[in-house]
């Protein structure tokens, strides 16, 4: 199928998904993994990520009739909903603490298996959690979901220039947190 046909196919799918259950399921299956992975990368914990993923798709069901756009825009819309859902989840300090605790336990149990990777993961989540939610979002979308700055800007309703400077600030903060522990993240 050429690109034009694919685009037309996606467009039809988006239109049908509002009223056609089969089309919605198709859309859901295409995007579930990306949403779940994004939630894991933001929350560092799969149970919480599954809960938030469920919330995200329930919101999608409720609001899909309002969505007008391409499938790419749909993906960005999903990330926006997921970002809000994750931030809401993290807003409760107790939840954040629980996540950190679970993270530590996981790291301790994994340390023999993965060694440096598990240790890095623990440090990374502590460093990431110390950032503002917006910075956390930008870091995750950029480095784990591999979105371009323009795409992140669309997800966050901002402009690429602002995202670029916020990314630089977020990285500077992470560097400060991580630099003492990892020589591969220093100048």
């Amino acid at each position: 199928m050429d690109n034009d046909s694919k685009a037309a196919d996606h467009s039809k799918l988006m239109t049908r998904a509002c009223s056609d259950r089969a089309a919605f399921v198709q859309l859901y299956r295409r995007h579930y993994d990306a949403v779940f992975r994004y939630c894991v990368h933001r929350l560092f914990e799969r149970t919480a990520a599954e809960d938030v993923t469920s919330d995200v798709f329930l919101k999608v069901v409720e609001n899909i009739h309002r969505f007008k756009g391409t499938e790419k825009q749909f993906r960005n819309w999903l990330y926006r909903i997921a970002t809000n859902a994750v931030n809401n989840y993290l807003r409760k300090t107790a939840r954040r603490n629980r996540l950190l605790k679970v993270a530590c336990e996981q790291a301790n149990s994994q340390v023999t298996d993965c060694g440096e990777s598990a240790e890095k993961l623990t440090l990374l989540r502590e460093a990431v959690f110390s950032l503002k939610p917006r910075y956390q979002t930008i870091i995750t979308l950029r480095f784990f979901e591999n979105l371009k700055l323009t795409e992140i800007a669309e997800v966050l309703g901002s402009n690429p220039g602002t995202i670029r400077s916020q990314l630089a600030r977020a990285l500077a903060k992470l560097r400060k947190k991580l630099a003492t522990d990892f020589t591969d993240f220093t100048d």
């Binding site: 009223s19 259950r21 919605f24 399921v25 859901y28 299956r29 579930y32 993994d33 779940f36 992975r37 894991v40 990368h41 560092f44 799969r46 990520a49 599954e50 993923t53 469920s54 798709f57 329930l58 069901v61 409720e62 609001n63 009739h65 309002r66 996981q106 993965c114 440096e116 990777s117 598990a118 890095k120 993961l121 990374l124 950029r142 480095f143 784990f144 990314l167 630089a168 990285l171 500077a172 992470l174 560097r175 991580l178 990892f182 591969d184 993240f185 220093t186």
Partner: protein, 483 residues
């Protein structure tokens, strides 16, 4: 990707996440979603939340009502026919004047909430009424005046808003959504048969009546927020006679017509400030710093665009935000003993005045003759762009370490300070962009929120005082200084 990004990417590249999706969860969620889809009604859900957000602002609420009649409703009928929205716009364009009265139902009675007069040639007048007070905005296309009826100040600004644009921007809210036709609700209004349309969502309902000429004649809103029900009704008349002097008001000698920015700058002049510092195109200044018993201090600061910056960036709209300054506890590892809490601030046309209480963090503060806090100045919009273009930072931190003006020795200063700030808020409330009274109030359900004197959240002096005193007590208790 720059070096920083590449280094971070290298760092995360060998971190293993447990992020493989679980098919059981995926399948279960799919079934749950299908059940929800099955139960969900086929008709479109109306996003009344938008309405709720828009209607939070009294001014917007007022203007929203204007938009309804100016632009009409977005009633899409589909099938290539002209939408009801388009017909309503067309009908409206034939009207020379429009008059709207919005009432709210409270305590078993209907009270006038706001009233709008619109004359296509002469401009717009908006009045909003609450708690015995009436605020007015008049825009005749050349000037805009804002004032509270009976107040001593009237703001006169150049008209900055195209009324048609004003209407167009407002019509992008909930009126875009497709209301349901409800024939059982058809009524006759002033002799004209009107069709009823309804937007509804859980706890919220908006009913609209449109006459045979496609004029919106009435709309009602019933909504429920946190268990509290509110109802409002707007009635709309077309081509009524409106006295032309409404759009060019005359004020008596007891009223002072001011440019708010100049007035604010006169009240807080730089030449009598006790501290000034040029920073990022702003001038930061401290106008007052007084210490009281038990280490409590009161400080008034301002941030204003320098004249040179004004010339360079060409300021215009008084609502534009160029940045500001904020006081913070010092976090540089050397310790701090003054903890600022924001009492209020006024922002208008590149000038911000902020009032703070400085609370002691330890016993050193009680002995300190001055204040020692961080000030962070940040830029926004055109000023931020200018700084970036010139390779300057867009944010800067100052350490504010200055001596107090005098020792007051007052035993109960909070009440007096609160009174003073509140009184200024009352005076400036309807005429400036925004006036914040206290940063955080606790609502009955325990949720903390920002409390602005305007728009919409009505805060009495008593509530404000209680909010500030509670914040002071909470801090002192936290620091173990409440003895």
């Amino acid at each position: 990707m720059n070096d920083n990004e590449r280094q971070f990417e290298n760092f995360v590249s060998n971190i293993k996440f447990d992020d493989t999706p679980d098919s059981d969860h995926r399948n279960k969620l799919e079934q749950d979603l299908l059940r929800v889809l099955t139960k969900q009604p086929r008709h479109k859900q109306q996003p009344l939340k938008i309405w709720r957000i828009i209607m939070k602002s009294r001014i917007t609420k007022l203007a929203m009502a204007a938009a309804v009649l100016i632009v009409g409703l977005v009633f899409l009928v589909g099938d290539g026919q002209q939408s009801l929205y388009a017909k309503a716009v067309e009908a409206l364009e034939q009207a020379r004047t429009v008059h709207v009265v919005v009432k709210e139902y409270r305590d078993g009675q209907w009270f006038k909430d706001h009233e709008i007069w619109y004359d296509r040639e002469a401009g717009i007048v908006e009045e909003e009424c609450y708690e015995g007070r009436t605020d007015v905005r008049i825009d005749n296309g050349r000037y805009e005046w804002r004032y509270a009826v009976g107040g001593e100040l009237v703001a006169q600004l150049n008209s900055y808003r195209d009324i048609d644009e004003f209407a167009r921007s407002l019509c992008t809210g909930w009126l875009r959504y497709d209301p349901n036709r409800v024939p059982s609700g058809d009524v006759v209004i002033d002799g004209a048969p009107c069709e009823m349309y309804v937007l509804s969502n859980v706890g919220d309902k908006v009913s609209i009546w449109v006459d045979g000429k496609n004029h919106v004649r009435q709309f009602e809103e019933a909504r429920e927020l946190r268990g509290q029900k509110t109802e409002s009704r707007a009635t709309v008349e077309y081509d009524v006679v409106i006295a032309q002097n409404r759009f060019s008001p005359k004020f008596g000698p007891e009223v002072k017509v001011i440019n708010p920015r100049e007035w604010i700058e006169e009240q807080y002049p730089l030449d009598t400030a006790i501290f000034t510092r040029k920073c990022l195109g702003f001038v930061f200044a401290v106008h007052e710093l007084k210490s009281y018993e038990k280490g409590l201090k009161y400080i008034v600061c301002s941030t204003r665009l320098s004249e040179q910056t004004r010339r360079e960036i060409g300021t215009g709209h008084p609502w534009t935000y160029y940045g500001d300054s904020k006081l913070f506890d010092r976090y540089d590892g050397t310790g701090t003993y003054d903890h600022p809490i924001l009492l209020g601030r006024v922002t208008h046309d590149g000038v911000r005045i902020s009032w703070y209480l400085l609370l002691p963090s330890d016993n050193r503060a009680k002995r300190s003759p001055g204040c020692d806090v961080d000030v962070i100045v940040n830029t926004a919009n055109q000023l931020e762009e200018k700084c970036k273009a010139e390779g300057l930072p867009t944010r800067e931190k100052l350490r504010l370490n200055i001596a107090t003006q005098e020792s007051q020795g007052s035993k109960a200063p909070v009440r007096e300070i609160v009174k003073q700030v509140y009184s200024l808020g009352e005076k400036l409330d309807p005429i400036v962009h925004s006036f914040l009274l206290t940063e955080v109030v606790t609502k009955p359900d325990g949720e903390k929120m920002q409390a602005w004197r305007r728009p919409v959240i009505r805060l009495s002096e008593e509530e404000y005082n209680e909010g500030v005193e509670r914040r002071v007590q909470e801090w002192l208790e936290l620091m173990g200084l409440n003895k």
